[in-house]
């Protein structure tokens, strides 16, 4: 793996050279910090802990058109494939999340919308020097410098960024900005390791996941599900803003003679998600829905794809309006197993 250095003085040049490539970076919006296309002349700063909305929306938009048609017609028009994109400043946990849901979207039947966008998107990561209050990536197989899912990893070394290529897409990107870069030396690699160790040491929250995937099915009838969901208001924030949550609804929309079939994020925390048309609901209360959310991430996904579908980004803890804490739930699961 070759590594290069970018002096921060050249940051705006670096961004400028990538500007023509449909560059996305975090920007504050009404709905919090999220990845948006960088405007012409805009120089994004990488001064944030993490975005509120995970970058999954760049490859799996909150709402997207599957195809368009005319009302009464039968010809279906598929949307043109999106252009290439470069996401700048993706945290390792969020890239790892995409890596994890790649499995689902290519399981048996390929999901062309997700996979084509994923292929056309270059993920430039930003290693974490200062983990957030509720980060626990190191408990679930990630880490502050994890490169799973990334094409390129940037490490903030103070005056310079260390750029490590991870994939061919990443090295192709480095080639394009080579004139701004200098070769990295042993010292910068040591510096990176030191920062990574320090960052990992600053992660205060953790869970020992061993035994959870195998133990969860045995807790099906346990009263803990009532307990941990008692304060849940069913807002769905934990799942909407989860970087590995991938569930969606499909709906038809018509306006005049123009119509489209689209899909949009959905959440297993909503009553309608599983509601049968007969009125029967296999998950009638928030207790069953919470049980499904935890089981899906920590047991079902492990059964299917041999990886926990949680990257420890802490969003569901930080953003839950009633302070439900997945680590607290998992702690209770551990106690009951």
């Amino acid at each position: 793996m070759s590594a290069m250095l970018l002096n921060k003085e050249k940051w705006s040049d670096f961004v400028g050279m990538l500007a023509g490539k449909n560059l996305w970076a975090p920007r504050e919006s009404d709905e919090g910090l999220r990845f948006v296309p960088v405007a012409e002349g805009e120089v994004p700063t990488l001064d944030y802990n993490n975005t509120r909305v995970p970058p999954k929306e760049a490859v799996f938009p909150q709402t997207e058109t599957l195809f368009k048609f005319k009302v009464g017609g039968k010809d279906l028009e598929e949307p043109r494939p999106d252009q290439d994109a470069v996401l700048l400043g993706v945290r390792p946990c969020d890239a790892r999340a995409m890596h994890i849901i790649d499995e689902l979207f290519s399981w048996d039947e390929d999901d062309p919308y997700y996979l084509k966008r994923r292929e056309k998107t270059v993920l430039v990561g930003l290693a974490c020097n200062e983990p957030g209050l509720n980060c626990f990536c190191t408990s679930v197989g990630g880490g502050p410098v994890s490169t799973e899912g990334l094409d390129l990893l940037m490490v903030d070394l103070g005056e310079k960024y260390l750029l490590e290529e991870v994939t061919e897409k990443g090295s192709a990107l480095i080639d394009e900005v080579k004139e701004l870069l200098e070769e990295a030396d042993d010292n910068s690699s040591k510096q990176k390791d030191k920062l990574a160790d320090e960052a990992a040491g600053k992660i205060k929250r953790s869970i020992e996941t061993e035994g959870i995937p195998a133990g969860l099915p045995g807790l099906w009838e346990d009263e803990l599900w009532q307990r941990v969901s008692a304060s849940c208001i069913g807002c769905g924030t934990c799942t909407f803003l989860c970087p590995t949550c991938h569930c969606f609804d499909i709906q038809d929309e018509t306006e005049g003679f123009e119509a489209r079939r689209c899909r949009m994020w959905d959440s297993c925390m909503f009553r309608e998600y599983t509601l049968h048309t007969s009125g029967h609901n296999p998950r009638p209360t928030r207790s069953e829905r919470t049980r499904n959310r935890i089981n899906h991430k920590y047991s079902y996904y492990v059964d299917k794809f041999e990886v926990i579908a949680c990257v420890g980004c802490g969003r569901c803890i930080n953003l839950c309006p009633v302070n439900i804490d997945i680590l607290d739930i998992l702690g209770q699961v551990k106690e009951e197993i």
Binding site: L66, F67, F69, V71, G73, K74, L76, E78, L104, F105, W107, D108, E109, D110, D111, P112, Y113, P217, W220, H246, C247, F248, D249, I250, Q251, D252, T254, A259, R261, R263, D266, C268, Y273, T274, L275, H276, T277, S278, H280, P282, R283, E288, N292, N295, H296, S299, Y300, D303, K304
Partner: protein, 282 residues
């Protein structure tokens, strides 16, 4: 076949014939449909147990059992109960109208593995829709099976589906057909009683027999109980599950029962497999 390029793109199909099976607010209407594209018509393969996403453009799609056997010809049959937005729109369709179809989805009744065995189907109400292809498949391959028994019931004679086929069935001496309704009616000369009770009265031997059941959850529960009483082993009993579905290909998430996706790992499950799925009868 599933559109490999883009599995969300449905095929156009034309309603060739349609008729009401039952009446009332929740009427059941059957559609016989053929694909518009000859290549799809030729390459489409389905098997008893499988479902398809059928729909009306601009309204949406619903997952519906394919209620015919591939041995019946190059068409598809769906029997749809009028329940919500999509099924309401489907019920508007008349011969010549278009619907969309994508699939087939889900696993199959392992009829190949059941060769030489006696097949017992136990259906209730609209639950006969996935039983019908099993019956039709065995009927066209009698030599390969050890016999065929069909138990089918509904609340009233008017609530039974596929009524127009009963007379011919009664003439088929290789098929043991047992119809039942919950409450006695004039001019009804078949059984009266709940399906699980008719099963007990019939007292079929579990020897070399596979029992397949589908119907309302409460019926399935008692049928399973009674099959156990009759001595059927868990791996001799099969049923189908249903859940709300959107994609049909294991992506959208919602149809899971425990760690199984009903759209991919099901809808057909042996009772032996279902016992391991905590949410199966939720």
């Amino acid at each position: 076949m599933i559109n490999k390029e883009n599995p969300y793109i449905p095929y156009n199909a034309t309603v060739e014939d349609t008729w009401y099976e039952t009446g009332g607010e929740r009427a059941i209407k059957t559609f016989k449909v053929v694909f518009d594209d000859e290549n799809i018509r030729k390459s489409w393969e389905h098997f008893p147990g499988q479902c398809a996403m059928i729909g009306v453009l601009g309204v949406g799609e619903s997952m519906i059992s394919i209620s015919c056997s591939p041995t019946e010809g190059e068409f598809l049959r769906f029997s749809v109960m009028r329940m919500g937005k999509v099924t309401q729109a489907l019920h508007q369709l008349e011969p010549g109208d278009k619907m969309t179809v994508r699939g087939p989805y889900g696993n199959k009744f392992p009829l190949d593995q059941w060769q030489g065995k006696h097949i017992l189907t136990i259906g209730g109400g609209i639950g006969q829709a996935p039983m019908r292809p099993v019956v039709e498949y065995v009927k066209s391959n009698y030599d390969n099976y050890g016999g065929l028994t069909m138990i089918y019931g509904a609340r009233t004679s008017g609530d039974l589906c596929f009524k127009e086929e009963f007379e011919e069935m009664s003439k088929d001496d290789q098929l043991s057909c047992h119809l039942t309704i919950d409450i006695e009616e004039e001019q009804w000369d078949h059984n009266v009683g709940f399906v699980p009770q008719i099963l007990m009265d019939l007292n079929p031997s579990p020897e070399n027999t596979i029992a397949v059941t589908c119907g309302p959850p409460i019926m399935i529960r008692f049928v399973l109980e009674n099959l156990k009483k009759l001595g059927f082993e868990d791996d001799q009993i099969y049923t189908t599950l249903e859940n709300r579905m959107k994609c049909g290909i294991g992506k959208c998430g919602r149809c899971n029962a425990g760690n199984m996706y009903v759209c991919k790992d099901g809808p057909v499950f042996s009772y032996a497999a279902l016992k391991e799925v905590p949410e199966a009868f939720a």
